[in-house]
């Protein structure tokens, strides 16, 4: 008892429709195996643990909350001390004339 080829092809077609695969009875190379592959980008990019839970992120998440950043406070205090000793950063020059004046003074 042999089944005609057309009937088998019909069956294959229905199978492809149901399982949403490509109907390719001749076995041509259509590159569909590339499309079948899963994207591994997200899992690859998640290899290293990210930097989370920093004080800045906390401040952003809870703007009304008071947080104490030891390092930042130290830095600001140091800046204030430097300014009091006259060792602070020079004032930003806004125009070309202002910056020229400074150069002449040096001479």
């Amino acid at each position: 008892m042999s089944v005609p080829r057309s009937r088998i092809l019909d069956l294959a077609k229905v199978q492809c429709r149901i399982f949403s695969t490509i109907f390719n009875p001749e076995g041509l190379r259509l590159g569909n195996k590339v499309l079948r592959q899963r994207l591994k980008g997200p899992s690859v990019a998640a290899y290293y643990p990210r930097r989370v839970g920093t004080l800045k992120q906390l401040q952003k998440a809870y703007p009304g909350w008071e947080t104490w950043d030891e390092k930042e406070e130290d830095r600001i205090e140091g800046l204030q001390v430097a300014k009091m000793r006259g060792k602070g950063a020079p004032k930003k020059k806004r125009t070309a004339a202002e910056s020229k004046k400074l150069g002449k003074k040096k001479k």
Binding site: L30, G31, K33, A45, Y47, Y48, R50, R51
Partner: protein, 113 residues
Amino acid sequence: MAQFRAKKLDLGCFVNVRNIRDHTKRKVFAEHEAERQALRYIIRNTSLSQRARAQAQLQLTQMHCYTRSTQIKNRCIMGGKGRGIMSDFNMGRYQFRINALAGNIPGVKKASW
């Protein structure tokens, strides 16, 4: 390459330049993976014109090397080593031993029988 690197450090593990580089490569690969797969599909599809496939081949070879998956290497998250990494724990063998003995890795116990 510097143009891909994050402007702000976003690694929470051991940091050295090789780890940062590998992390950057991973992110760039994830970003461009769909594009690469599309080009690969065009190249493998024999029903498309020879010209389109050759063009896709050229385009794929001209993509930046950071978009390639072969550039990615597992590195130790505790010490930055590139060899002897146990991929289940993302750690080098010595760091794994130290952390396992210290009890930092859940479910890992020194065997003895």
